[in-house]
Amino acid sequence: MIPLTVLKAALICTVAIGMVGGLIAWRERPTPGSVPLAVLLAGQCWWSVTLLFRIDAVGIAAKGFWVDVSWVGIAVIPVAWLFFSLEYSGYHEYVQPRYVAVASIVPLCIAVIGATNTAHELMYVHSTLVEINGATMLDRTPGPWFWIAAGYTYLLGLLGTIPLLELITSDVLAFRAQSLALIVGIVVPWLTNVLYLLGALPTYGVDPTPIGFAVSGVAYLGALTRFRLFGTNPAPIRYARRLAFDRMEEGAIVLDSNGYVVELNDRAATFLRTDPDDILGRAFADALPQVAGIVDCAGPNDRMVLEADDGTRAYDVSACSIVDYTGRTIGRSITLHDVSAHLRRQRRLTVLNRVFRHNVRTTTQLILGCASEIDDDAGRIADRIEGHAMAIEELSEKVRRAIDLFDRDRADRRPLPLDSILCDAIDSARDARPAVSVDYDGVPDDVYVDELLTVVFEDLIENAAEHNTTADPAPRIRIDVRSGEPEVDVVRVVVADNGPGIDDEELAVLEEGAETPLRHGSGIGLSLITWGIDIVGGRIEFADADPTGTIATVEVPIRSRPP
C-alpha cells in the first residue's frame, strides 16, 4: 500500500494539472476539441477534489457526502471524452447540441442519483468505515445505478476511442510523438479504472482514475497545441477529403463490393443528369445502366467513352478497384472525365485536315495550271504566280504536318530507329537543296525513338538547309548523335548549320510558347519542331554557332526496341 500522503499529493497534483490544463484548453477555443477537453479536465478536477475531501472527512456521513457529490464530476467525463474525440478527429457532424443533450441524459441521471444517494440508495446500497493501513476509509457496496454508470461510462469511452484509434492508424499523423500522445491519452485512464475495479491498485479503496484522466488531459493538450504549432490539426482532413471528392473536376462514382452505388459526387450527378438520392444504395447496372454498360463490357485496354444521348457531351470513363490494407477488393471507383471540348477540337481538326489536304492542294494545282497558260513577257508573271502558289502549297503541307502531329498525339505511336529517321530526313533535305552538304556519322541501329520525330527531324534539317542560301561559306549541316546523354534513356541529337541563324524574336516566341498579335513568329516550321518534341517528352535548345549559324540540341527519350 502506498503511503496516504503520496496518494493525496498525487491527487493535489491532479487538481493543479487539471485546472491549468483546463484553462489552457479553454484558451485554445475554437480549436476543435478544446471545449470538451476543458470540460473533461473540470470533471476530473471535481472528482479529485471530492476524493481528497473524502479522505480527510471524519465520519461515515461526511465521507459519504463527498462520494455522492463526486458523481457530478464523474458523470461529465465520458460525455466530454466522447465529444472531444469526435470533434478532434473531425466528426463535427456529430458534435451538435442535440447529440450532446442525448448523450448527457444518462450522466444527468447519474449525477442526480449519485448526489441524492442517501434518499434512495440506488447508487450504493451499503456503506461502512474500514481501517486500511491505519487510515479510516469508506467502503461502499455498489447499487444498480453504479453498474449502469460504469457500463455507460465504458460504452462512451469505447465509442470515443474509435475515432482516435482511426486517427492514429491513418496516415494523417506525421509525427510519432503526437500519435504517442493520443495513445497515452486513450490507455492511461481506462487502464487505471480497470485495475482499480479489479482491486489491483493499493490506493486505500480510493479510485485513482482522475489521476489517469489528468495524464490523458495533458497528453491531449500537448497533441492539441503541437498539431496547431505544426499547422496540422487533423480535424479538417476529413472535410478536405470530402471537399476534394465533391469539388473535383471529374465525376466520381463509388461502388461497394456487391456493385451497389455508395457514393456519387456532385459532378457525376450533373454529368449524368441525375439526383444522388435516386441513385445511392441502388445496384450500379440498375441505377446507371449507360455507364455500367460501358464499364462492364469494356476489355482491359479498351478506351471507354460515354456519349450523351444528344451528342453534345462525351466523357472518358475509367474504373479502378478499391483495395483495403490486406489487398482485398472492397469496391470500385468509376471516374468520368469530360472530354466534350477535346472531341469538338478533334472534329474541327479533321475538317481542317481535309481542307488542307484536298481543297488547298486542288486549288493550288488549278492556279499552277492557269499560270502555265499565261503568255506574258518571257513568262515572268507566270513564274511569280507559280512561285507564290508553291509557297501556299508548302505552307499547306506544313499545316497538314501540324494536324498530323496533333492526331498522332492521341494515337499510339510506334518506336522507329533514329538512324533511319535521320537518314530519311537528310535524303529529303539533299533532294530539296542539293547544294547543302550534310555531315552525319550515323547512330547504332538499336537506338529507337518515337515515330513522331520523323516530322520533327525532317523539318529541323530542312529548316537548317533551306535558310542557308549563300555560296560563301558553302551551306553545311553537321549532325552529331550521342546516345545515353545526358541520361541513360535519352539520346541527344545536335544539328548545327552555318546559315544566317534564327532571329531572336522568333526564339523568344518559341521559348514562351505563345504568340500575340504583336509578337509572333514568321512561319510554322519552328513551332512544328517544338510541338513535336514536346509531345514525345523531349526538349530542344537553340544556340548561335560560331561564326554564323544555329546549333539546335534535341534531347528525346529512347524507346525500347519493338518485339
Binding site: I12, G18, M19, I24
Partner: protein, 313 residues
Amino acid sequence: MASEPSTQSRPTGSTALWNRSTISRARTVLERLRNALLYSSTYLALVAAAEVALVMIVLSLPVNLSPLVVGLVTFAVYVNDRLADLEIDEAVAPNRTAFVRRHQRVLYVAGAIAYGVAVALAVSGGPLAFGLTLLPGAFWVLYALDYFAALGSQIRRLKEVLIVNSAVVALAWSVTIVGMPMAFTNAPITPTAGVLFGYLFLATFVNTEIPNVPDVESDAAAGVSTLPVVVGVRRTRQSLYGVVLLTLGLIAYAVLRGLLVPAAALALLAGLACLVTTIAFLGRSDAERRLAISAELSRVPALGVLVLVTVGL
C-alpha cells in the same frame, strides 16, 4: 621635477566604456524587472499576500498556505483582467497594454498555472478555502464566454453605478483576504475579524476610487459613474478623507473595546497614514499613476510596522 605617476589611475577609455555599458545593461535589466513586476500585476499579488499575512498575525492564526493561495489567485485574476481589457486599457495605460500584448501567451499560461496551483493548494485548506478560491475561476470562465455581455446589461449597469462598483471590488477582496486564512485554519468568526474586514473593505474602497481620478475623462466619455466623474476631483478627495475618518473611528472603537492589541492598531494606523498622504496629493500631482500604486501598496507598511513591533516586543 618630473611628476610622479599617480597611484590612483583613471580608467582608460575601454574600461570606462565597459563600466558604462555594464551600468546601462544593469539599468535595462532593472527596468525590465520593474516593468514585469508592475505591468504583470505581480506586485498586487505580493500586496495581497502581505495583507493575508497581516490578518494572520492580527488574528494570531497558525502559519498556513493562505498567503500563497491568495497571492496566486490575485496574480491570476489581474493577469486575466489585463488580458481581457486590452482594448479598453490601450488609451489609459499604453505602456502596460504594450507589455501585456507582447507577452500575452506567457501571461495567460502563467495566470493559468498560478490559478491551478492555488486551487490545488486550497483543497488542503478544506471545502471553504476551496470554494473561496474557485469563485474567481468561475468569473474567469464566464468573462471569457462573454456571458456578462449577454446577460450582462444588469451586471454592466452594476459596474457603472456610482460607489457600487468600487464597493463590490472592495467586498470581494476583503472577504477573500480575511476569509481565506480563517478557512485554512478553521478559525471562528470573531469581532476582531469583523474589524479587519471593515478596515480592509474601507481601505480597498479608497484604493479603487483613487485610480478613477486620472481616468475621469475617459470614464465620463464611457458613461461610467465614478466619484470624480460625478462630484469632481476636489469633492472626491474630501469624500475619501471621510472614508478614512470612518476607518479611523473603526480602529478607535476596536481599541476601546479591546478587539485590537495596540501593536495591531498601530500597524493599521500606519497603513491609514500612507493612504491619507496619497489622498492629499489627489488632483495636486501629475504623477497620478504613481499615486494609484502608492494607494495599493499602503497596507505593506502596516505589515512592516506590525512585524517590527511584534519582533521588537
